[in-house]
């Protein structure tokens, strides 16, 4: 029954999450002919199911310049894409319940100020004064005013809609199954959809498949050290305005933001790895409820309305892979964002477009090579998935 179609493109993007859609969008803006392949729907996985945090603080040092640059893009995103993505620069508060955590935040703040990110340390009194809605359990916090939040469902899809408007061919419900290589260079991508098979001839492939990346990259003999992980969010019923910041506490294992329509989103810090399962276990709901009530006593009388899970992907060092891959010209990996892809999406897309069009991206990407895992250094502390 499989009918075979043939198409041509300059770049095939595999994966319709925020990374793939942003890359396709910025490429199309530069006049590049792009076909985007998405196995399901645009923004339907982690890109549309995350906590909606857009932050530069508390990043691994390698990631920090990317996050700072991405936030500059976020600020102008609504005008750029022509869709309201509910982006608000409401600030980001990272909380501490103990001295050890506070010391870590202090160390981090010195590095951040050095790198040009404005952050502030709050002691207990400032915290009470500035954020009276938070629990008394906290002894201090680090605050970054330029960080913020956006609506993940709308932002990821807005890139897709804008990409389509700019001329990208969006093939949804179409899964890339094979990448053809000819004399050491990418030659084509084969994909399977409900209308049968399609072969797209192209000299470039951007592979932004999130947790599903390894199965396709393996067909090229490339082992991408990427594991799936489940991230779960619970939301309350609509509430009066409580807070505008994105707040998180690693000690309590939860984060929170209040969306524009008034519902408070509560997520868990540290997603259990190794599973594609998106069912929400009862125990996770209990954990989020306890964390929410502990962090924000004002939520004690509120109701949880709904929960959902998404599958994000993690690399061993929790930093993404954005790279040409040695040995196969034209094959670019952009995956393993480890829960940071929502914030980094716009800049990652833009840098990928520069990598292909200009040959040289405006920010260096050599820290994000796949080959770094061949000579592993020490593994840094796990960072949260927001």
């Amino acid at each position: 029954m499989s009918t075979s179609r043939k198409m041509g493109a300059e770049v095939v993007v595999v994966g319709g999450g925020i990374i793939g859609c942003a890359a396709a969008y910025y490429l199309a803006r530069r006049g590049v002919k792009v076909v985007l392949l998405e196995k399901s729907v645009v923004g339907g996985e982690a890109s549309g199911r995350n906590g909606g945090g857009v932050r530069a603080q508390c990043r691994e040092r390698r990631e920090r310049p990317l996050a700072i640059a991405s936030i500059k893009l976020w600020v102008g995103l609504q005008a750029e894409l022509g869709f309201d993505v509910e982006y608000v620069q409401g600030g980001n508060i990272r909380l501490a319940t103990n001295e050890e955590r506070m010391a870590t935040l202090r160390r981090e703040s010195e590095e951040e100020l050095e790198d040009g990110l404005v952050v502030d340390l709050w002691d207990r009194d400032e915290l009470r004064r500035l954020t009276p809605y938070l629990s008394d359990d906290f002894i201090g916090a680090k605050y970054c005013p330029s960080d913020g939040t956006a609506n993940p469902i709308l932002a990821s899809r807005a890139f897709g809609w804008a990409a389509k408007r700019e001329g990208v061919t969006l093939l949804t419900q179409t899964e890339a199954v094979n990448i053809g290589v000819h004399t050491g260079r990418v030659a084509s991508v084969t994909a399977r959809g409900k209308d049968g098979e399609v072969l797209i001839e192209a000299p470039w492939v951007i592979h932004a498949g999130g947790p599903w990346t390894p199965q396709l990259s393996r067909t090229l003999g490339i082992q991408a050290p990427i594991e799936p992980a489940r991230s779960t969010i619970a939301i309350t019923q609509r509430m009066p305005f409580l807070f505008k910041e994105f707040i998180s506490s690693h000690d309590m294992g939860v984060y929170a933001r209040q969306a524009r329509e008034g519902r408070v989103h509560i997520g868990g810090v540290g997603a259990p790895p190794g599973t594609f399962d998106q069912d929400v276990p009862a125990a996770t709901i209990a954990h989020l409820a306890r964390g929410a009530a502990q962090m924000l006593p004002g939520l004690c009388g509120a109701n949880f309305l709904r929960t959902w899970s998404g599958t994000l992907e993690v690399t061993p060092d929790k930093v993404p892979i954005i790279d040409h891959v040695d040995g196969i010209r034209g094959y670019v990996l952009a995956s393993g964002f480890s829960g940071h892809g929502f914030c980094l999406g716009p800049i990652a897309g833009k840098l990928l477009s520069e990598l292909i069009v200009d040959g040289e991206p405006s920010l260096p990407l050599h820290e994000f090579r796949l080959s770094r895992f061949e000579h592993p250094a020490g593994q840094p502390e796990a960072s949260p998935h927001e």
Binding site: V41, V42, G44, G48, I153, L154, R157, W161, K164, L170, T172, T236, Q237, E261, P272, G274, T275, D279, V280, P281, A282, A283, T284, I285, A286, H287, A289, R290, A292, A293, L299, C300, G301, A302, N303, F304, L305, R306, T307, W308
Partner: protein
């Protein structure tokens, strides 16, 4: 922590009561969970305690008798208890004033019933527009008249019963609009009424009351719009064609202060969907229903579904389905297993008779697809999030092709009712826009909690549960 039980029954309407009784009589240890304070469901709806001195209606008497048998058989009853989630391993999460936070059952019988089908048309969100079920609950449970000049629109003989009750209680029933037109069809199916003497008698006596009071009955008519500023003041009605679409130039306007809508029922299948039971799309049974075998077992071993929640069929069908499931569930947990097959076979004739009636009823009174075309672009489809039809259509034009995708973008179904009200409205709207069958569009994916649950209560669940979850993940 979850309490281990043999048989958990969800819902204490006719199906659930009958299942609990059969399972308990067979010797199983039964826990019956009910969201309301008293048993009975809609069919046996009991009056609030304040009114119990009055002579109860026949259904209420029957319900009371069945209830007393259930208690005598030793079943445990958890009233005011919501099942807010169903998880792998037949784990039911509970929220109520007493009892454990969760049940882990060897067999689960879902008797979750059905709810009134919302139909969207201009003005349907005005105060004074309500479902027939709401009017009946006000009348039967609280002895309150919903209005003074009442227009009934919908389908099925339950409309007669409600109209007769309203007239009896002193209301002026302006008219009863019946969407179906019976000619020919009814007489061919009349055989299914054989043995349904109580139903025939009830229907006839209600009809007689209406005839005697001169209440106009208009088959083949439906609602176009409700009008009013803060409250319904009048309604425009029109003749319907065979698909239940409005016939041009047939409109009339009737003065009324209340509009009771009874366009059939939608099965509550959320729990069986959460558990992962296979479903099928059956407009004749009210919408999406779980697939079941002869023992009322879904595609999941040990998970049974009975009554209207598994396909709308009314109280008597729920009673016999419940009994079968109760026997089968008890047998599964090791009680009277050897006699179960014979006992179930003995119920076959009753089941067949009620299924015949169900088929006849569905053939006559399943609303035509036209009822989903009564909304206009500025008509609200999702009341919680106030999303008009135009927004749904725009989103489909952008490329969204499933209920979940439209939900994500428009917020339809994200509100407090968890999509119960708008799921079918939105699915039909998408299907129409895309020119595809509604079965392919499907309903919103259910997510726990399926009802809003206090954070304080959810957090109270034992810390052991969290440890359990972490080890579970580690094992994978």
């Amino acid at each position: 922590m979850a309490e281990q039980v043999e048989v958990a029954v969800v819902g204490a309407g006719p199906g659930g009561l009958s299942a609990a009784l059969a399972a308990a009589q067979a010797g199983a240890q039964v826990t019956l969970v009910e969201g309301y304070g008293r048993p009975g469901g809609q069919y046996f709806r009991q009056m609030a305690a304040e009114f119990q001195l009055r002579d109860p209606l026949r259904h209420q008497r029957e319900g009371r008798a069945l209830w007393e048998k259930v208690l005598a058989a030793g079943a445990r009853f958890l009233p005011d208890t919501i099942v807010w989630g169903a998880f792998e391993g037949n784990l039911l999460a509970l929220q109520g004033p007493q009892g454990p936070p969760a049940l882990e059952a060897q067999a689960v019988i879902l008797a979750t019933g059905a709810y009134d089908r919302p139909v969207a048309f201009p003005g349907w969100t005005l105060p004074g527009v309500m479902t027939a079920g709401a009017a009946q609950a006000l009348l039967k449970q609280q002895c309150i008249l919903p209005g003074k000049r009442i227009l009934l629109a919908g389908t099925g003989p339950l409309q007669f019963v409600l109209a007769a009750d309203l007239v009896h209680a002193g209301a002026n029933v302006v008219a009863v609009l019946e969407g179906a037109r019976f000619f020919g069809k009814a007489s061919r199916r009349a055989g299914a009424l054989w043995g349904q003497w109580e139903r025939v008698a009830e229907g006839l006596s209600s009809r007689l009351i209406l005839l005697r009071r001169g209440v106009p009955f208009r088959p083949g008519w439906g609602i176009v719009a409700a009008h009013g500023t803060d409250q319904v003041e009048s309604a425009t009605i029109a003749r319907l064609d065979s698909q239940w679409r409005h016939t041009p130039d047939s409109e009339e306007t009737l003065a009324c202060d209340t509009l009771c809508l009874g366009y059939g029922f939608i099965p509550s299948n959320t729990l069986s969907r959460l558990l992962g039971a296979k479903q099928e799309w059956r407009p004749d049974l009210g919408g999406e229903v779980p697939l079941r075998d002869r023992h009322m077992q879904t595609s999941l071993p040990g998970v049974y579904a009975v009554g209207d929640g598994a396909g709308v069929g009314g109280g008597p069908l729920a009673l016999v389905e419940g009994r079968i499931a109760g026997i089968a569930a008890a047998a599964r947990t090791g009680h009277h297993a050897s006699e179960a097959e014979k006992a179930i076979r003995r119920l076959a004739p009753v089941l067949a008779r009620e299924r015949r009636f169900q088929r006849m009823y569905a053939a006559l009174f399943t609303p035509g697809p036209g009822v989903y075309e009564w909304s206009r672009d500025d008509t609200i489809l999702c009341r919680c999030e106030e999303v008009p039809q135009a927004h749904v259509r725009r989103t489909v034009a952008l490329g969204a092709g499933s209920a979940n995708e439209v939900k994500a973008i428009t917020r339809c179904g994200m509100g407090d009712c968890q999509g119960r009200m708008c799921a079918h409205l939105v699915a039909h709207c998408i299907a129409r826009e895309m020119g595809r069958p509604v079965a392919e569009i499907g309903l919103f994916r259910p997510r726990p909690p399926i009802f809003p649950i206090p954070i304080a209560a959810l957090g109270r669940q034992s810390a052991n549960a969290v440890v359990g979850a972490v080890t579970e993940v580690a094992r994978r």
